[in-house]
């Protein structure tokens, strides 16, 4: 028994490596298999107090536009903004106070949806959210929120000569959510 215990102890580093390796490798593999290339997914970034990302993603995935694999919903955190992890976003939900600062990342919209839309230098950059999707996101009551599109999104149709306009369809769905 003593010898068995000694042998286990002398090999304990192998067991620890296996356990750590299992955690790291499978987490990495799951990240790979659950993700999709930017051309196959729509990413919606919420700069709100909070967002029920998986619940909202599940609703948006119900009618994923043709040719897409998935819709991701993420909350814009400080980390995202600092390290540029929001590069993959197609749609932003942004508070009015940040609209001007964010305008350089956004694409001007071809038309207004309502009088309350965000207009910067005579161009429409965000559609008024008007409480849409409030069952999934918590908004700051002191702010007005807008739905905007990233100028690098490959799903904006004629707005930036993309092959598809899936982001517009997803946006339409977000705007219709209670």
């Amino acid at each position: 028994m003593k010898i068995v215990f000694k042998r286990i102890l002398s090999n304990i580093h192998r067991y620890i490596l296996c356990a750590l390796g299992s955690v790291l490798i499978w987490t990495w593999i799951f990240m790979l298999v659950t993700d999709a290339p930017r051309t196959k997914k729509i990413t919606v970034m919420f700069d709100t107090v909070s967002v029920s990302d998986s619940a909202l993603a599940a609703v948006l995935k119900e009618d994923v536009p043709k040719g897409l694999r998935t819709v991701k919903v993420r909350h814009v955190s400080y980390m995202d903004m600092t390290f540029g992890m929001d590069d993959e976003a197609d749609i932003y939900i942004i508070p009015g106070s940040k609209m001007e600062a964010s305008a350089e990342y956004l694409v001007p919209l071809p038309y207004k949806l309502s009088d309350g839309d965000a207009v910067i230098n005579g161009e429409v950059y965000g559609w008024l959210l008007n409480g849409a999707a409030s069952s999934y996101a918590v908004y700051d009551e002191a702010e007005t929120y807008y739905l905007c599109f990233s100028k690098t999104s490959p799903h904006l149709g004629d707005m930036n000569d993309s092959k598809d306009d899936a982001a517009l369809k997803v946006a339409e769905k977000i705007l219709s959510l209670p």
């Binding site: 090999n11 296996c18 390796g21 499978w26 799951f30 659950t34």
Partner: protein
């Protein structure tokens, strides 16, 4: 006086050990293959649902499987390999005969690759004071009745008893 020689090692034993080694190697790799297959199923489920729901199960399966694999390698496969290498070396070695009175001691030692040996005391022999016998062979060795032993590299491989 008539004597008979009792061999402790045989070519059949070496062949059996080789077979055992192949079987346990296969078993350990089968454990690894099953573990990977189970994890692949969880991955496929993650691909379908696009969630991390099954990640804890995949990690648990991977840890359990790799622990079983490691334990088999450390405690079974490496022991069989060490025993097989030892038996092969003994069978290839050149034997010399040692006569005297033999006593099986309780002193154990481990040679290369952790093969356990028991020391055998020799009296009435000026040149050698002790030999070793493979732990798994000591039940077959009747030290009191032995009048001489065959030795390869200091390990007792056969002994002679009065008939």
């Amino acid at each position: 006086m008539e004597t008979r020689i009792i061999e402790l090692y045989s070519a059949g034993e070496a062949a059996d050990l080789k077979k055992k080694r192949i079987v346990w190697n296969a078993v350990s790799f089968l454990v690894l293959a099953i573990t990977l297959s189970v994890c692949a199923v969880f991955c496929a489920s993650a691909y379908r649902t696009e969630t991390f729901e099954k990640l804890p199960y995949a990690i648990a399966a991977s840890i359990a499987g790799s622990f079983v694999y490691l334990t088999l390698r450390i405690f079974v496969v490496s022991d069989i390999k060490a025993a097989s290498d030892h038996v092969d070396a003994i069978l290839k070695g050149e034997a010399e005969t040692v006569t005297g009175r033999f006593t099986l001691t309780k002193e154990r030692l481990f040679i290369k690759k952790g093969v356990a040996m028991t020391k055998v005391g020799v009296s009435g022999q000026e040149r050698i004071s002790s030999l070793q016998i493979y732990d798994k062979k000591k039940k077959l060795f009747d030290a009191e009745k032995a009048v001489s032993v065959k030795v390869v590299f200091g390990f007792i491989t056969a002994y002679e008893v009065e008939a």
